[in-house]
């Protein structure tokens, strides 16, 4: 694992992903629901999450659990200290990815993937393909307005 490269603009902004849990508005058992949410995010549920899932925990006190499990990966080419640097420093250079910020992301994602296909299959030039992507996004934006 290593750092994201710096691009021609002189930045190495890494898209950040979060997996977060929410309390439904209008749900009947708000207090009990929040109690479970609290358990998942800051109590034993978060500890189990770091132990079991292999995903990097948002709960900082569970970092050691994650890095302990990381060191069990066969043939990992990094020391524990290097792995901590490679992952933790990334947050200083990141920005939240659109999938975690945009309403109706799955729809935008389908639009992007479908219209980029002809470029990746070398069926159109990059310029022509991106013009088609732009037209399709404008069409979806118009349909939503």
């Amino acid at each position: 694992m290593g750092a994201f490269p710096y691009g021609p603009a002189g930045v190495n902004t890494s898209p950040l992903f979060n997996d977060s849990w929410m309390l439904g508005k209008g749900a009947k058992e708000q207090d009990a629901g929040f109690r479970f949410l609290q358990y998942l995010a800051v109590e034993k549920g978060a500890e189990l999450y770091a132990q079991i899932t292999g995903f990097f925990p948002a709960h900082k006190e569970n970092y050691p659990i994650y890095f302990d499990s990381l060191m069990n990966i066969p043939n990992l080419a990094l020391s524990r200290e290097d792995a901590e640097t490679a992952l933790l420093d990334a947050f200083n250079y990141g920005y939240v990815t659109p999938g975690k910020t945009l309403d109706s992301y799955p729809e935008w994602n389908s639009t992007f993937n479908q219209t980029m296909g002809p470029i990746w299959n070398a069926e159109v030039s990059v310029a022509d393909g991106l013009a088609q992507v732009q037209a399709q996004f404008e069409s979806v934006i118009e349909s939503k307005s």
Binding site: G2, A9, G24, K25, F36, Q38, E43, L78, P106, F137
Partner: protein, 321 residues
């Protein structure tokens, strides 16, 4: 067997989750308790919308967490409803519209901004305060990601950057520069990565034995354009200039910008240029069918992906470093 409401809901959840995950569902209680008697009399039931097509490890965590929570709060029963990724957001919004939303849902299907935009979730600040929840234990950037208009709308469990994975053996054998761990190392550029990829790439004209230099990708909706100083949803600069990332609502796009053309052209040339280093889509598909994430094949020197892909290496024992 008495089919209590709880058992019916649990059966429904199992059916939706699918047979493949059936073994992960906690064991049924050995004794049936008629509803509304004994220890059930004080029980509060909450529903938790989960993904039915999620990975085995997440399912294992879900089951263990619910089982352990039952020992901490024996009077709160958690019932799960499983739906696949593609239906997750629509299911929650339908439940919300029907006035019967689940107490707990997750951002598995990129749902947070959709739920926020549709006023389907609760701001948590008061509950956090009333219950004396210490949020200082959570990575601030993760909390920022689910804060809108000064209010906290979710609690994050995972926070994952995008990183470069590399095959150290392939890079060392080629004498190529290895990606640094130091994020402030400005010598590690897209050009430097391309040079390493060129050094490591071998047999590129034979997809059956090619070793590819890199898989770069585009990021979600093309946001690796950030490295080139642009963003798909503004015509000024990087993501900090995009209003849609704050409101959730897309009102403009700039896929035909010069910056996007330069970025996509660079990735395209890595596949189809005079000195290709990346697999063509058909080659990527073929490798994926064999090993899942192509990096696991040992035939990719470097690949960009989210930090969640680390879990792939925990499940196998690669013969390379």
């Amino acid at each position: 067997m008495v089919l209590t409401r709880r058992r019916f809901l649990k059966s429904s959840a199992v059916a939706a989750t699918g047979l493949a995950l059936a073994a992960c569902v906690p064991a049924e209680p050995s004794v049936d308790m008629p509803a509304g008697t004994g220890s059930d009399a004080e029980t509060t039931e909450i529903t938790y919308l989960i993904r039915s097509d999620i990975g085995v490890k997440i399912q294992e965590w879900t089951d263990e967490a619910i089982a352990d929570f039952a020992t901490v709060e024996p009077n709160i029963t958690v019932e799960t409803i499983g739906v696949p990724w593609g239906d997750y957001n629509a299911k929650l919004l339908a439940q919300y519209a029907a006035g019967d939303p689940p107490e707990i849902s997750a951002n598995y299907a990129a749902g947070f901004p959709t739920f926020y935009a549709n006023d389907a979730i609760v701001a948590l600040d008061e509950l956090v305060s009333e219950n004396n929840v210490d949020l200082s234990v959570i990575e601030p950037a993760a909390l920022d990601a689910v804060t809108r208009n000064g209010k906290l709308w979710a609690l994050p469990l995972a926070h994952l950057p995008t990183i470069v994975y590399y095959n150290l053996d392939a890079l060392e054998e080629a004498g190529a520069t290895v990606p640094p761990i130091d994020w402030s190392d400005t010598s590690w550029t897209t050009d430097a990565m391309l040079a390493s990829a060129n050094a490591a790439a071998q047999d590129m004209d034979d997809p059956t034995k090619a070793q590819y230099g890199m898989i770069f990708g585009t990021g979600q909706l093309g946001v690796f354009e950030w490295l080139w100083g642009g963003d798909p949803f503004n015509n000024v600069g990087g993501p900090e200039h995009t209003e849609a990332y704050k409101t959730g609502l897309v009102s403009e796009a700039f896929y035909d910008s010069e910056t996007m053309n330069t970025f996509i052209g660079w990735v395209y040339d890595a596949i189809y240029g005079s000195s290709p280093v990346s697999p063509r889509p058909s080659d990527t598909d073929a490798i994926q069918q064999l090993v899942g994430w192509p990096m696991m094949s040992g035939r990719i020197a470097m690949a960009i992906n989210g930090a969640w892909s680390v879990t792939n290496f925990a499940a196998v024992e690669p013969s390379w470093r």
